[in-house]
Each structure stands twice: as C-alpha cells, then as structure tokens.
C-alpha cells in the first residue's frame, strides 16, 4: 500500500498578489552565486551557519506583509564581527549582492532580496554585551531581539527607549538602521538620539569601531551598538478615551500634553472602523466598552511616583469630562486590562492582514489635518467600491497617520489607481512625509521625490557610493537608479 505523504509548505498565499522583481526592475550586473562561493562561506562560517535548503529559505525570501518575494539561494548567519567582515570581503571582491536582514518585520520590502542577493542574517548575533547601571549605557549585538533586550533590561530596572508591535521579532540592528519610530517616540524621542555609537562593517569588510557619525541608511552594516537606556519607572497608567469627532480628539491630545506634561509616554488613536475590524477578524478580541465611539484615544503615562501620576491623571480626565472633550472611556485597572486595551491598538495590523488586499500608507501630516485624508479617501471609494474598507489609526502625539485601505482582490487595481498617486500627492501638498517611520524599501522608491528634493536625493546617492562603491549592499532599495 502506498502511504500518502502530505508535503507542507511553509506558507502559501495564493490570494495575495505577490510582487516579484518590483516594478519591472532589471537585475543589475552582479555576479551569480556558484558552488565555490557556498564552500567558501561554509569554510568561513561553519556548515550550520550556511543555509541553502528551500524550506528554510522561504522565511528569508518573503516579507511580513507577503507582498515581496525574493529568490535568494543562500542565507548566512555569522556569529561574530569577524565573520561578517569575512563575508563582506568575499562578496565585495566577487561583486555578489548582499541583503542584510534582521527580524524581517519591515513593511516596505526593504529587508528581502529582490533577485538572488545573498541574505546576511544577523539573527545569530543576538547577545546583550554589557550594561553600565550607573550611566545607563547598554551595548548589544545587532541581532538582539527587541523584546529580549527589554526583558534583560527590566531585570536591572531599565527600559529600551523604543517600543513597537513587532517587538517579539524585530532586531536592534534593523531598528537602528531604519531609525524606527513606534509607540513611545513621544516620550523618548527619535531612536537616533539614544544611540551613542556603533561598530559597523563596511561593504568591503572593513570594521569601523564606534563611529558616532555614521549615517544609518543601509550603507554599512551595524554590528554592535551602544545605547543610552532610561530607568524603568513603575507607575504606569493607561486611559482609553472615546471621542465623537476628530476635533474632540485634537482637543484631547492638547489637553493630555498640557495637563499630563512630562509623564505622557504614549498617545495613540484609532477609529471605530479599526476597533470593529479587530473584533471581527481576530478571535478572542471583544469591544472593551458597551458603547461604541467614532474615535478612541489611548493615553499612557509613566512616572516614578504613583500618587503624583494618579492625581495628574484624575485632573486630566476631570478636565476632559467637564470641557466635554470626551464622551466616555475607561482607565485600565491592572496589567491584564492594560494589555487588553493596548491589544485593541496593536492588533490592528494583524486584523488588516486578514483582509484580501490591503494598501498601507504611513504618513506624517499636520496633526489637525490627519483625519481629513481618511475621510476624503472614504468619500472617493464609497460609491464605486462599497466593499473597500478605509481605516485610520496611528501615533497621534507625533503627527503620524497610518492610513489603510482594504478591498477584495477583484477590485485591487482599480482601488490602487484611485489611491495612488493621490494619497502621496495630497501628503506632499501638505508638506508632509510619505513615509513617517516605515521607510522606503522597495515600495516607496518612486515616491521619494515627493518628500525630498532631487538635489538631496543625489547627495544620498553620493554618500552611499562613498561607503559602498560596488553597490553590493541592499541594491534596488531606497534610491532609484540614475
């Protein structure tokens, strides 16, 4: 009798249109991987650190959104700076293209190969090297997962000055090289400000130690970084406020910044469409309050003195109720409630991923106009594409809107033509940024000109050329070819 074997693929995604060789780009004249290269890598790194089997390659060739698919034949996992240096030395000499990869959680296709570039994964360099508890300086390797660093620091009473939903998978090297934004930018500022120094390996294998002024745009490879890390503060409060219209939302934010001042650690918003989607698409999620609200605002405070923070929070909430800035809401009581409330916001991307097609826009726009774009897009689509969903959420405190549009696959091209270039042009007109925190990657290359003048783009290209003369590091990304 023949036994039937089910061969399980890592994943299949026949519904989502997968972009390969984005936008008709041609493969540049890089060398092709040969057996001799593979055996060189094996000699340099050891057998276990050289991955060539198809099943394992799947993860590294596909981005989180399942929108971009590369065709790399080999993934390397060096365990030390010396190993990274030896790999790049070889690749640079051979003119083999290389894609450095961290947690592969990027949303713009910047972390996956476009053709057959070698994937240089930092995942095996995941150690926290040292923590100086007096100066609050931590040194860690680029492959260190954010959540692991958080847990390590928490034991000693410190926090990472960065937090994002992908914390369980994203790595510090990727965070630093993309200057990641996230939920607590409002409190800690741009990640750049917290980086004291990095050790990087250049495209030709040269190791640069603690170069403090290295530009972080994938021109070199960050191996170790020194961060300044703030103390962990125990008094944390989370309020979720319900607002009837965006004007109230704006007033709530202003009130939060004024009344809560220095203890604010996050201000996020999401609309009713988002909360309905989360409850509909994700099992186990339910509405927090019985009454629904067109807008929800999450305000988090973090401080060192609980009675002080509680009083401030009470005054803020009282003010909001009296001035009728909010229609309702709640304050989380305990860690479990806090996680559930955060879940309503942090799970929005997961809920969106369950729809057939999703267009994601990450825009910096003047805060007062943030929701206008959402309403305009909704208006534009509602008559001919009533099945399209338009969602607005984001880092309200930083003026960063995440506009998402979902639609059935059948309508994909039509909806896309309505959205683009309109959304980008609207943003450019408001002198906003077409990529507030997600970066350019593959996805937004052709839109870069909308937020940066050509002279500056030319300069970026020149700088990249200084650090990477052969252009082997992460080609086909960020900058268009001349």
């Amino acid at each position: 009798m023949m036994a039937r074997r089910e061969i399980f693929r890592g994943f299949t995604n026949m519904l989502r249109g997968v972009r390969m060789h984005s936008g008709g780009i041609a493969r540049k004249q890089f060398a092709k991987i040969e057996e001799s290269d593979i055996s060189t890598f094996r000699k340099l790194l050891g057998e276990k650190s050289v991955i060539t089997n198809d099943d394992s390659l799947e993860f590294h060739n596909n981005d989180w959104m399942k929108q971009y698919r590369g065709n790399s034949k080999v993934v390397l996992k060096p365990k030390s700076t010396e190993e990274v240096s030896s790999i790049l030395k070889h690749c640079n000499a051979r003119k083999l293209a290389v894609v450095p990869q961290g947690g592969n959680t990027g949303l713009v296709g910047g972390s996956v190969p476009v053709f057959d570039e070698v994937v240089l994964s930092l995942s095996s360099m995941n150690k926290v090297l040292s923590l100086d508890e007096y100066s609050g300086v931590v040194e860690c390797e680029a492959g260190c997962i954010l959540q692991n660093l958080e847990e390590h620091l928490a034991k000693h009473g410190f926090v990472v000055p960065l937090d994002l939903g992908s914390r369980g998978s994203c790595q510090l090297g990727g965070n630093v090289s993309t200057n990641a934004g996230g939920l607590r930018l409002i409190r800690f500022g741009s990640l750049r400000a917290s980086v004291l120094g990095i050790e990087a390996v250049m495209a030709d294998g040269t190791v640069l130690d603690s170069l403090k002024t290295l530009r972080k745009d994938n021109t070199g490879y960050d191996i170790k970084q020194l961060f300044i890390v703030p103390r962990k503060l125990e008094s944390v409060h989370l309020a979720m406020l319900g607002c009837n219209n965006f004007q109230q939302v704006l007033e709530a934010v202003a009130a939060a910044k004024f009344k809560l001042a220095e203890i604010v650690s996050a201000i996020e918003f999401f609309d009713q469409q988002c909360s309905d989607l989360v409850v509909r698409n994700l099992p186990g999620m339910s509405h927090v309050l019985e009454t629904s609200s067109p807008f929800w605002v999450l305000v988090e405070t973090t401080g060192s003195e609980d009675s002080h923070d509680s009083d401030k929070l009470y005054n803020f909430l009282n003010y909001c109720m009296e001035k009728q800035v909010v229609e309702g809401g709640t304050v989380a009581e305990g860690g479990t409630q806090m996680r559930k409330l955060w879940g309503m916001r942090e799970n929005i991307p997961m809920a969106l991923l369950k729809e057939e097609e999703v267009f994601k826009y990450d825009l910096s726009v003047p805060t007062s106009e943030m929701y206008n774009l959402v309403e305009i897009v909704r208006e534009r689509l509602k008559e001919r594409y009533p099945q399209a969903g338009v969602f607005g959420y984001g880092h309200l405190g930083d003026g960063n809107l995440h506009l998402n549009v979902t639609c059935p696959t059948a309508d994909k091209e039509a909806v896309e033509s309505i959205l683009e270039p309109f959304v980008y042009e609207w943003t450019a007109e408001k002198r906003g940024s077409i990529s507030a925190e997600h970066g350019i990657g593959q996805m937004k290359i052709s839109k870069l000109y909308l937020s940066k003048p050509p002279e500056l783009i030319a300069l970026m290209r020149q700088i990249k050329g200084v650090f990477d003369p052969n252009g082997i590091l992460n080609p086909y990304k960020v900058l268009l070819d001349e």
């Binding site: 944390v236 309050l289 509680s310 709640t330 009581e333 305990g334 860690g335």
Partner: protein, 248 residues
C-alpha cells in the same frame, strides 16, 4: 438586600515577582499593585446583582495599608456604593482576615458576602470558608454561576469532577471562581463619581479583633532555575546520557 464584598490589594498579575535579598519575603516596593483578579470578579457579580434589582447596596471592604483605599476606589468605580477600609500595615493570615470581616459584617449586616476564592499572592483559598464557619453561615465556594430568588441562593460550583449545583438560604458566603463573569472596565463617569463616594475607616483595635499571627514566615526562596534541555544526536547518545544520570 445588601452585599459586603471583600477586595484585596495584591502585586499585579502581570508583574514578575522577585524575592527580597534577605529571603524574608517578596519585593513590593515600587512594584505595581492592583485588585486581586478574583476579587474583581466578586465586585462584578455584586454589581450585576444590583443591576438585576436583587441588591440595593454594595459595600466594598479592604484590609491593608493606606493604599488599600485605591483598591476600594476601583470597586466603587465598578459600581459599589460605599467603602470600608480596615487599616493595618502588616501581612495578615486568612484567619485574621476572616475575623475582621466578621466584625465588619456584624456592623453592616449584609445578606451576602462575596469574596474571591483566593488571593494570587498567597493562594491560600481559606478566608471565605473560615468566615462562613465563624459566622455560622452556609458557604458556596468556587462559584461559576450565582442565582438569587428571594432568600434562596443557587450556586454552580467548579469542582474536580465537573460542576456541582447547590442550594442554600441567605445569608451566605460566596467565593468566586474564574468563569463566573468577566469584570467590566470602569467607565470614566463612574471613575469620577467614585472619588466622591464615602469610604469609612477603622482598624482591628476598634473592631475588637486580635490579629496577631501564630504563623511566622521563616524563609522565602525562588523556585530552582529551570535547567536547559540538551539535544542528543542519536539513540546511542540518548542511552549513554540516561545511564550517566542513573535514570536507567
């Protein structure tokens, strides 16, 4: 009808508890505290009974240091009418807590007392049972469903073998289990209103209760750290390792 609900302030469920350096107890300084999850369920059940028209008044009582008032405020924000704070700074054993609750109950004369089945810091699961015994009242512990009709109480209990349904006459002590209900989020208007609700204060001396403990905590240690497993490459290696550890 009136209900007395006991609420305890404990280290928050989400916190990673650490043992103090001297082994005398766990670290609570600067650590996030909140209402015991089972107490939350008790408060929620009382509020639901009030919404059904069965209860007229809910009194939330907590025994502990000054900060226990915050826990009472949370109960008030969820829907309790007034609070009672029994001030005492040291850790108390369940028997002392039961005696104090009895003293409070004798003053307030509730028709039912709702407690969480156990506190997540000591996991004792004794207070409700001891209280019922001291009061001479029937008890319905591990409640996963509560029905009140007149003075008849019917409770479904979670037990090892499944579910047990028991009936009794009020007044009675009920202790709540996880599946009884999902506690509500206190709404903003209720949180504001709670600030104005009354919390009476008293202490063991005033209640005439001796809370001295016959138990002394000798030592507190963390559980031994889990050893990492090992990966073996072959059956032979597995056999050798098992023999090495005298497991076969």
């Amino acid at each position: 009808m009136r209900a007395l609900v006991g609420v305890k302030r404990v280290i928050d469920y989400a916190v990673k508890v650490r043992v103090k350096g001297d082994g005398s107890g766990v670290e609570t300084a600067g650590v996030k505290m909140s209402m015991n999850p089972f107490c939350e369920i008790a408060v929620e059940e009382a509020v639901r009974l009030k919404e059904k028209g069965i209860l007229k008044e809910i009194i939330a009582v907590s025994i502990g240091p000054a900060q226990a008032q915050e826990t009472i405020r949370t109960a008030l924000a969820m829907g309790a009418d007034r609070g009672m704070h029994v001030k005492h700074d040291d850790i108390l054993q369940p028997l002392a807590v039961a005696k104090l609750l009895k003293a409070v109950a004798e003053k307030e004369k509730p028709d039912m007392i709702l407690l969480g089945k156990q506190a997540i810091d000591d996991d004792c699961n004794q207070t409700g049972q001891m209280l019922a015994s001291l009061m001479g009242w029937p008890q319905a512990t591990f409640a996963s469903k509560v029905d009140v009709e007149g003075s008849n109480l019917t409770v479904v209990r979670e037990i090892d073998g499944g579910l047990e349904t028991i009936g009794m006459k009020l007044p009675a002590v009920i202790t709540t289990d996880l599946r009884l209900n999902e506690p509500r989020y206190a709404t903003l208007p209720n949180i504001m209103k709670a600030k104005k609700k009354k919390i009476d204060a008293t202490d063991p001396a005033e209640l005439g209760v001796d809370v001295s403990s016959k138990l002394q905590t000798v030592k507190v240690v963390e559980p031994p750290t889990r050893q990492a497993g090992g990966v073996v490459g072959s059956v032979q290696e597995l056999m050798a390792k098992l023999k090495e550890k005298s497991l076969i």
